[in-house]
Amino acid sequence: MITVEKPLRLLYFAWLRERLGRAEERVPLPPGVADVAGLRAWLQGRGDGFAAAFAPGMPVRCAVNQDFAGPSTPLRPGDEVAFFPPVTGG
């Protein structure tokens, strides 16, 4: 029997959305990626705009399932993971 895992739903906002040329995509949870830090490293490895946007030190924040998340927040198949700059509302 083959189990088909639900993909991650990735969302990008503000300058990340613009630089990456997309607001949303679905990707399978990459093998070996267990948390936000792992996903960031995997995204950086994609090259092109991703390498620059997710380079260490870039001011990128994350939310998992619509709650702010840190590097060690765990990820599971089907999670909604958003990346964005520090917020500037109000």
Partner: protein
């Protein structure tokens, strides 16, 4: 429970205060903050400010901020309205209202609400300049400090 709204349309402060206080006479003070679009940024004239947000998370974040204020102070009503989309200088961006029996709670909650909203609601501002260029607004360190003082 706080009334929260994320909307493209303008808000009207008087209407919102009337809705918050309708039919009740236990309120002694209403604190209010209105954030508006300035016509310049870093000394350069802007023609518009465009607000992007994270639909779904935004409403959750605003509700959580309102709930936290209601946990910290005895509020008799609380309103958080944030606009999205394209705004021009002079327009209102955000409205915060907090009603209480006395002014101390109303005013402290108002300051808390806007400080927390600035740092924990997923909105992003882009400024469009008169010369045709535009730029995303950078987060202010002062905003993090203002939010941090509430512990």
């Amino acid at each position: 429970m706080a009334r929260v709204a994320v909307q493209a349309a303008a808000f009207e402060v008087g209407t919102e205060i009337a809705a918050l206080t309708a039919g009740r006479a236990d309120i002694g003070g209403i604190g209010c903050f209105v954030g508006t679009v300035r016509a310049t940024a870093g000394g350069r004239p802007i023609v518009a400010m465009t607000l992007e947000h994270y639909p779904g998370m935004t409403e959750r974040a605003l509700a959580a901020i309102g709930a936290e204020a209601e946990r910290r102070w005895t509020l008799l009503g609380c309103t958080l309205i944030h606009r999205v989309g394209r705004l021009v200088p002079g327009e209102g961006i955000v409205l915060v209202l907090a009603a209480a029996a006395h002014r101390e709670a109303a005013l402290a909650a108002t300051s808390f609400l806007i400080d927390w909203l600035k740092t924990s609601a997923p909105f992003w501002k882009k400024e469009s300049f008169a010369d045709g260029s535009d730029a995303w607004v950078a987060a202010r360190a002062e905003d993090d400090q203002a939010a941090a003082r509430w512990g």
